[in-house]
């Protein structure tokens, strides 16, 4: 049976925790709004770029650009985009779980963004070849360095494909861990399935005629594909960041609600104990008085 003092102490500590989680919730909510808007605004551009290039890949001659075909090597490069900080629910755990269950064949090498990704992969004893710190909010220039690294790696021909593992942002309460193929160019889903499959089919049917390229197919691809890689990477990072802040906001909201419930229960118990103590005291006084008479 805990004493009233113990309960008072617990109430105090729970109250402190609630205050902290509440503060974190508010911070995450403010960041979430921004991150969500950013992700939503860029999605259309990245999707359209992807759609066009996938269609062009179908109609282009073979071997016109290395990004359209698998590399000669047998290795796979996987970029994992996770968060820097914890306390964001099961976001990183789910992503790593997805990665472990994904069964990418052959030797896999990893590149990471975010501390939680490198830590998690180290724990799983995976081969990590590079880790890039990216600030929050993410700057395009930072992503460009990552993009350059990945493209250089792919162009060596040691890797057959480049995959990206990140959390796709659907809405504030739903984030889906996904693994998408960045290179060679492949249909990519960003922010959930919003009729992307149908539209790409419709586009394919309309685009079967041969394209004219100006000044030439090779030149066009040479300028556009690096942009595509960086742009898509940036959009994926934005999705991951939107997921992170949303997930943290929800996690912190739950924590605050739980703390409040706990406070309620504890105060009830505390008051009951106090009442019992008072009743006891009164009883003692009255019995003592009756014994004296």
């Amino acid at each position: 049976m805990p004493s009233t003092r113990d309960i008072r102490r617990r109430i105090k500590s729970v109250k402190n925790t609630a205050q902290i989680t509440k503060a974190m919730q508010l911070v995450a909510a403010a960041k979430m709004k921004k991150a969500q808007d950013q992700a939503a605004n860029g999605r259309h551009y990245a999707e359209m770029m992807n759609k066009i290039l996938v269609a062009l890949k179908e109609s282009a001659e073979e071997g016109i650009h290395p990004y359209f075909a698998e590399g000669k090597g047998s290795k796979t490069l996987v970029l994992v985009i996770a968060t820097d900080k914890g306390l964001c629910g099961a976001l990183n755990t789910n992503l790593l779980k997805k990665l472990v269950n994904s069964k990418i064949e052959g030797e896999v090498e990893y590149v990471t963004i975010g501390r939680k990704a490198s830590q998690g992969l180290a724990r799983l004893r995976k081969k990590l070849i590079a880790d890039f710190p990216v600030k929050d909010p993410a700057k395009f220039a930072e992503v460009r360095t990552v993009g350059k690294f990945i493209q250089d790696k792919f162009l060596t021909g040691e890797y057959k494909a480049v995959h990206i593992a990140f959390n796709n942002f659907i809405n504030t309460v739903t984030q889906v861990p996904s693994i998408e193929q960045l290179l060679p160019v492949n249909p990519v889903t960003l922010g959930g399935k919003r009729g992307f499959d149908e539209t790409s089919k419709e586009v394919n049917a309309a685009e079967l005629p041969q394209y004219t390229f100006e000044p030439g197919a090779a030149v066009v691809f040479e300028t556009v594909l690096p942009q595509y890689v960086n742009g898509t990477l940036y959009q994926m990072l934005l999705e991951a960041r939107a997921s992170e802040h949303s997930s943290r906001m929800v996690a912190m909201k739950n924590a605050t609600d739980n703390a409040k419930q706990m406070l309620k229960d504890l105060s009830l118990e505390y008051n009951k104990l106090r009442q019992a103590a008072i009743t006891n005291e009164l009883l003692e006084i009255t019995t003592a008085k009756m014994a004296l008479e």
Binding site: L56, Y211, E214, P215, V220, V224
Partner: protein
């Protein structure tokens, strides 16, 4: 058959409507696109883009990007697209000045990537000024 034009930047979908014709700055010079144009893919350079729809012409300053034309569609993916009305000449001039300044300081170091980024910024600003000023003299 009308031409469906879409202009998209990483920030937003700027334009999406049916138009009569669009004139855009391709890498090989200005390019007029009419409905039922032959399928074409080309890259865009910084400059002026004109859209005409039922006699009215809209002018825009655009950055580098990709253009994809099929018979019924023209899709423009670019890193900048600003309506001439909303170009703030003074702000652009300041940005241009800043960009030139940082280019000067970058030249001493070996930051190829950053130099490229600043150069792109200068080109975009110049294109905006060009579109805006041309309009005023008319």
């Amino acid at each position: 058959m009308p031409l469906k034009l879409e202009i998209v930047t990483p920030e937003a979908r700027i334009f999406s409507d049916e138009v009569d014709t669009v004139v855009l700055p391709g890498v090989e010079g200005e390019l007029g696109i009419l409905p039922a144009h032959a399928p074409l893919v080309t890259t865009l350079q910084c400059g002026e883009l004109r859209i005409s729809k039922s006699g009215k012409t809209t002018e825009m300053a655009v950055g580098e990007g990709l253009v994809e034309v099929t018979g019924a569609y023209a899709r423009i993916l670019t890193d900048m697209a600003i309506d001439v009305e909303s170009i703030d000449e003074k702000a652009v001039e300041e940005a241009l000045e800043r960009a030139r300044h940082s280019l000067e300081s970058l030249k001493h170091g070996e930051h190829q990537e950053e130099v490229a980024a600043v150069m792109a910024m200068i080109q975009r600003s110049t294109a905006q000024l060009h579109v805006k000023r041309k309009r005023r003299t008319v």
